[in-house]
Amino acid sequence: MIRATLILARREWIRFFRQPHRVIGSLAQPLLIWAFLGAGFSPSFRTPGMEQISYTEYFYPGILLMLMLFSGIFSTITLIEDRAQGLMQGVLVSPAPRMAIVMGKVIGGIAIAGIQTLPLLLAAPLLDIPLTWSGLVWLTGGFLIATLGFTALGFLIAWNMESTAGFHAVMSVFLMPMWMLSGALFPLDHAPMWLKSLMIINPVTHALTLIRTPLYHSPMELLTSSSYWWAGGIAITWASACLVLALWRVNQVERGLDPARFISQSPKGPS
């Protein structure tokens, strides 16, 4: 089980580096958005309690989260290609447990997200963000929960998809809005009521809290903050629910209908 998981994770990793456009694409887009929005909004951005930070800085955790979303989700797109080819069938007929397919994807996705988020993390000191080593440990925790959630969610969606076009559609009408309404672009506090409620029930909002808070607060402050604990609880519940659903889904074996019932429904057969 462990060997099968690791070998499948390694495959994700090798494949990622063999496709340079993926490396560049998933890194460049968030960086461009960050640069343009940061430059455009910074002069006018003022939010109570955070007057001293620029929009570029406000947006920084959101961009980290976007990188995690992109690399987590896009690493599961390969699943659609694998299923269209015989590749996934090859894995499914092997004696390796089906769980290894999910775990291989998730671990591979997390590793890829890690290598993509790392360069941006180096930007923290440039923004005068008081990130400490212990803060980094907590940030890593948030990173693991968020990427786990995104990869498992991506897995669930991709497993039911026939084409990558369908996946991109889900990405733009469902996953991107989840990110936009997470507080990545604007703070929750001053949003209209309806938007605010959407944002509160959005698990990605809470994942973002796990990314943003360790940048500014010491571990001691985190441990005593009930809102941080709440966010952690909700995000962990979301990520594990996605993982459990993905594991359950992958273990479902396709099965045929009972022919007796089928024939009684349509006595002359299929056509």
């Binding site: 070998i7 063999r18 080819q85 015989g86 045929g256 209908l257």
Partner: protein
């Protein structure tokens, strides 16, 4: 090849499979009561037109799909009850390529070894043994995407040989290969069967390939029409058949109605006659019906002829037939 041992490699009984419908499609009966016994060590080819249910049967045999009704046992073990134990004995090659084309040949083999829990000290000797069946020795570090179709298929074969299966399932393994590639692949399979006593089940919609097998099954619309050694199957049509091409074959057939020892089918512009003393008949027809006949020939019946006789049609796809 009559020295097959007693427990069959594959025993299938009353197998039915109905694909559940979707919003746009009604449920579809893909296998309709298939019974099949394949002795250990046999080379079995399942033929039939596209859409006849060959791949569905393979998906069930490899444990990817569970049938709605029927039983399958492999070497005496119930596939549906202990799928994992049974799967270890099988090597499966699907119709669609199952190698990662971004990875090298060797990397793909390593993944396979990992999935099949092949101990690492056994990997190299097994790889050497499996590679001996291929022309891939110098291509291990080539990316699969850049291999030719024939070599890619060989790579699939080497891959499944790594875990030393006793039963090989191959779904249209020669599809997309040129005639030379086909022949080479088939003869490799033949040698594998002989040297290692592997049972081989493959599908093909090419009758010429089926003629090289020990046993042939003909599937049509989910039903097994016939199953026997190819020579015995073609013998059902006698030693020879007379094939006449004509604009109006029915008119020629009409002149044969007083000859009860003959039987015939008409298919498009072809009249196929089975019976005895065909050379005499040929001479008679040439005299009496010359104007109507375009070509005529006596030939040894092939599996394709049997298929046409059994079904009254040429090998078109079952799906096309339904759409007509």
């Amino acid at each position: 090849m009559d020295d097959f041992s007693q427990v069959p490699a594959v025993h299938i009984s009353r197998l039915h499979h109905v694909y559940p419908g979707t919003r746009h499609e009604a449920p579809r009966l893909a296998l309709d009561g298939v019974n099949l016994n394949i002795p250990t060590g046999a080379f079995f080819v399942l033929t039939g037109p596209n859409g006849s249910g060959k791949s569905t049967l393979f998906k069930i045999l490899s444990g990817l799909t569970r049938p709605g009704l029927g039983t399958v046992s492999i070497h005496g073990q119930d596939l549906l009850a202990v799928p994992n134990r049974v799967r270890r004995q099988m090597g499966v090659i699907f119709q669609r390529p199952a190698l990662d084309k971004h990875l090298t040949v060797l990397e793909n083999f390593q993944i396979h070894a990992g999935l099949h829990a092949i101990p690492s000290h056994q990997f190299q000797p097994r790889l050497d043994a499996a590679l001996a069946w291929s022309d891939l020795q110098t291509r291990l570090h080539t990316r699969v995407g850049t291999l030719s179709g024939g070599l890619a298929r060989q790579a699939e074969l080497v891959k499944v040989l790594l875990h030393e299966p006793q039963l090989l399932l191959l779904d249209e393994p020669t599809a997309g290969l040129d005639p030379g590639g086909r022949m080479a692949f088939m003869s490799t399979l033949r040698r594998l069967q002989k040297k290692r006593n592997v049972t081989i089940l493959m599908t093909s919609h090419i009758f010429a390939e089926a003629e090289q097998a020990d046993l042939v099954g003909i599937l049509r619309q989910g039903q097994l029409l016939a199953m026997d050694a190819p020579s015995r199957l073609t013998a059902r049509l006698g030693n020879e058949i007379l094939v006449i091409q004509a604009d109006d074959p029915a008119a020629i057939a009409h002149t044969l109605t007083n000859r009860p020892e003959l039987s015939w089918q008409i298919h498009n512009h072809e009249l196929r006659i089975q019976g005895t003393q065909l050379p005499t008949l040929m001479a008679d027809l040439l005299q009496a019906q010359r104007a109507r006949i375009q070509t005529l020939a006596i030939k040894q019946p092939t599996l394709e002829d049997l298929y046409i006789t059994l079904t009254g049609r040429a090998l078109t796809s079952d799906e096309e037939e339904e759409n007509r």
